[in-house]
């Protein structure tokens, strides 16, 4: 099953260069709903898979981008390790490459760090057919620009990820989730207070009038944290956090546009009476709304945040528009890594 297809992929990109054929980098398609549809021939990267090296005591794993997340996470679990950023799969065959390219992280993100925070190195195939290696397998590395992290969240528009090295962490020894009945406004205040205390919090979600607080870490730390938070113990909490991570909670059902708001965590609630799920201790909020995109973006921007039309997006841009100076820099970087516009052209922004 494990195969190294870097040469074949490189040949395919070079061919595309010669024939001016745009390519759509295709993993399992689990996150294809996010972003603008890409025109182009599929470049199937799922065959480039397998764990290249894994050193449990070094807390580092290197795997090919087509490796299924389930496989990677199972291998880590055997060594009592995990991907700390709790990546959503959004499909049974989600790959590591898609995870890094979209940069999506689960409920633990505010406390554990993001996907890019754990990327130590990457091998990539550029739109010029070059195979390059940046970063490495060590925790600290400041030689050269951090191109590996630049690939995170670029949606494949700067290069095809081939191999990725990640920092991994021990699985928490203990876990407990507490539920407190309260309205959203009060939940935000509670979260603000809790966030300033040194608690082993690793999840904080408010939905349906209930605040869910997850504590993870050592037995003693979790017990102390949960006791301090109060509320009731949530019994089958694994199912709850899974549903939040995978957007299988009933809140995510239906066809109304799902907006993702990334906000300063203490941002007060807007007056709007629309369904909202608060995640990441307030820093990520999911909104169901049929209001104009512009209104929602303006609202997010006014608080210092940004908005993504995550699912069931209306016509227009999916991601928050960039200011002109930033856009110019994006275009120049595209020119560096993919001057012919071959890779996932337009997925993130027009002309990118």
């Amino acid at each position: 099953m494990d195969t190294d297809q870097r040469d074949a992929l490189q040949a395919r990109v070079r061919e595309a260069m010669d024939s001016h054929t745009p390519l759509r980098i295709a993993g399992s398609g689990s996150k294809a709903f996010l972003g603008q549809p890409v025109r182009g021939e599929p470049l199937d990267v799922t065959g480039h898979r397998g764990i290249v090296s894994f050193e449990p005591t070094e807390l580092v794993v290197t795997a090919r981008a087509g490796t299924p997340l389930t496989e990677l996470e199972a291998t880590l679990a055997e060594a009592n390790l995990c991907l700390p950023f709790e990546p959503p799969r959004f499909g049974p065959d989600a790959t590591l490459g898609g995870t890094v390219a979209t940069g999506l992280a689960g409920p633990r993100r505010p406390w554990s760090g993001s996907v890019r925070d754990h990327v130590l190195g990457a091998t990539l195939l550029t739109g010029k057919g070059d195979i390059l290696h940046f970063g490495g397998e060590v925790m600290k590395n400041v030689a050269g620009y951090d191109v590996a992290r630049l690939m995170c969240g670029a949606f494949g528009t700067l290069g095809v990820l081939l191999d990725i090295s990640l920092k991994v962490l021990p699985r928490p020894a203990a876990r407990e989730t507490r539920v407190l009945e309260m309205p959203a406004g009060e939940a935000l205040e509670t979260l603000q207070r809790l966030a300033r205390e040194p608690l082993p919090l690793t999840g904080a979600v408010h939905v349906d009038g209930r605040l869910h607080l997850r504590f993870e870490g050592s037995e003693a730390g979790v017990a102390a944290g949960a006791r301090h938070a109060g509320g009731d113990i949530l019994d089958d909490d694994e199912a709850f956090w899974f549903a939040i991570r995978e957007q299988m909670h009933p809140f995510f059902a239906g066809n109304m546009t799902l907006w993702r708001l990334s906000l300063p965590p203490a941002t007060p609630l807007a007056a709007m009476d629309e369904p909202m799920l608060i995640d990441w201790g307030g820093a990520q909020r999911w909104l169901r709304s049929e209001r104009e995109a512009q209104a929602i973006r303006a609202e997010a921007e006014a608080t210092g945040g940004h908005a993504t039309a995550f699912r069931h997006a209306p016509e227009g841009e999916i991601f928050h528009p960039l200011p002109p100076a930033a856009l110019q820099l994006h275009l120049r970087l595209k020119e560096v890594f993919d001057p012919f516009g071959l890779l996932n052209y337009g997925r993130l922004y027009p002309d990118l």
Binding site: A143, D146, R171, S218, L333
Partner: protein, 491 residues
């Protein structure tokens, strides 16, 4: 002749700069320029054409626009504590000191952020956050002096980075100016930003991509309890193995540092920390969390250390002892500095499991070059600081020390590591970049730089070597019987 042209340039540029800056913010006299001639790596020195000390973003913008139009190189400087010559001035350029950007703009306890100007010192942030029970985690040993702007530009680390991450993991946003004078805001108080992760790219960019004018930092709640353990070992290999066992047991200490015998002896002589001077190596392990957790962890770690073969394990009995355990480590550089007229601090990172072998090889090199070496090690994350002792007044010794250092860095690359973990490439390690990266990769680095700074005026000649330079270096320097960059012409 060329000297007078130099003077003429200086006068003309100074005149133009004084139109946009107050009189006292433009320095042209040799004695005024002297304080800027080097950073913490004093072996490299150069006087800039002019030094400027702006106070507002508009002034910086005007300086950059002026220099851009006139094709004058610009080198940014924070506190000048860098250890790789990153802030080394350009003889024909402007030295842009950010020292007057020294205000903490906001501590926002609700969002747990600090927004500061880039010239604010690292320690000042934690001090300002302390009344709210918060702190800024990255803590380089130079934290009383080094600036946040410099920390971002170098992606600096500290002893607590094992658990809390490097600068890049603790910065939420920056404001910056490009060499063309464009103002950009990357990130903010949110956990992510739309588009490419330019914020990550700015970390460790050593002043080559843009001038950082404001930084928003993530603050964390102070842990209520801290414990420090000291373990002695009769070989560095056993000590290295103990590190793997602690992390392998699922424990991520707040800090996990190793010192070898020469460095622990030097530290003991200097600050009398009570270190066991006969040990081949000691480990310092800091644990933090809530009270109950610390008790549990301390017991667990003590057990692991003993099992791993520690000859002695001490648990600090009180605050004074915790401080004493750390005092020796924190004073390690100056302590080793007392052993010889000069020392040269290296900064490679290696996979931890290769530690014993790397230290053995360093010892061999030490004999080969006839220069003693002491090792301080951020053991948890594999970042090694060999300190090479030499005497710059002895003819040829500096050169010898540099060659020795170069071999250590190449050794780090050979075992799968990197030439710099946190001090940056700067001017110092520019040749070793040719060992770590091939010419394609270097070409993309230059192209990336060009996307930010098309005219190549920000800190030229640092961080990324030209392919030409690598060809020359390769010609002098053949690795494993193989020439690097065989595709390039030799001369």
């Amino acid at each position: 002749m060329s000297e007078s042209l130099h003077e003429r340039n200086r006068r003309a540029l100074a005149r133009a700069l004084r139109r946009i800056l107050p009189e006292d913010a433009v320095l042209t006299e040799k004695e005024d320029l002297r304080p800027f001639e080097c950073d913490g790596l004093s072996a490299y020195r150069a006087l800039p054409l002019i030094a400027v000390l702006p106070e507002t973003v508009e002034q910086v913008q005007a300086i950059l626009e002026l220099c851009h139009v006139n094709e004058v190189p610009v080198v940014a400087r924070g506190a000048g504590t860098g250890l790789s010559g990153g802030a080394l001035p350009h003889r024909e350029g402007v030295l842009l000191s950010m020292a007057r950007f020294n205000r903490i703009l906001e501590i926002d306890p609700a969002n747990r952020t600090a927004t500061v100007q880039p010239g604010v010192t690292n320690l000042a942030v934690s001090e300002a956050a302390a009344p709210h029970g918060l702190f800024y985690a990255p803590d380089p040993s130079s934290q009383i002096a080094c600036t946040i702007g410099g920390n971002v530009a170098e992606n600096s680390g500290g002893v607590h980075c094992l658990k809390y991450g490097l600068t890049v993991h603790n910065v939420l946003g920056i404001e910056m100016l490009t060499m063309e004078g464009q103002r950009l805001r990357l990130g903010g108080k949110t956990l992510d930003a739309p588009g490419f992760d330019l914020l990550a790219a700015m970390h460790g960019s050593e002043g080559l991509l843009g001038i950082i004018t404001e930084v928003t930092l993530r603050l964390l709640p102070k842990p209520p309890a801290v414990q420090v353990l000291l373990a002695a070992f009769d070989s560095v290999a056993t000590a290295g193995d103990a590190v793997g066992r602690i992390l392998g047991a699922g424990i991520v200490p707040a800090g996990l540092e190793m010192m070898d015998n020469p460095s622990l002896r030097a530290a003991e002589d200097f600050v009398h920390a009570g270190y066991p001077v006969d040990a081949a190596a000691i480990l310092l392990c800091e644990l933090d969390g809530c009270e109950a957790e610390i008790a549990e962890l301390t017991e667990q770690v003590s057990g692991i250390l003993a099992e791993a073969g520690a000859t002695e394990v001490r648990v600090a009995r009180n605050e004074a002892e915790k401080a004493r355990f750390w005092a020796g480590r924190k004073a390690a550089f100056p302590a080793v500095g007392r052993l010889a007229p000069d020392y040269y601090c290296m900064d490679g990172t290696i996979p931890r499991k290769r530690l014993a072998e790397v230290l053995e090889r360093i010892a061999e090199l030490s004999e080969k070059y006839g220069l003693p070496v002491a090792n301080v090690f951020h053991a948890g994350d594999g970042n090694l600081h060999p300190l090479i002792l030499y005497d710059a007044n002895q003819p040829g010794e500096l050169k010898k020390a540099e060659e020795f250092g170069g071999e250590i860095l190449e050794l780090c690359v050979a075992v799968g590591g990197t030439i710099t973990g946190e001090h940056g490439v700067g001017r110092e390690k520019i040749d070793q970049m040719c060992v770590q990266f091939d010419s394609d990769e270097l070409r993309y680095f230059h192209a990336l730089k060009q996307a930010f700074d098309p005219a190549g005026l920000l800190n030229p000649g640092k961080a990324i070597p030209t392919l030409h330079r690598c060809a020359e270096f390769g010609a002098m320097h053949v690795h494993h019987g193989q020439l690097p960059h065989p595709e390039l012409e030799r001369f």
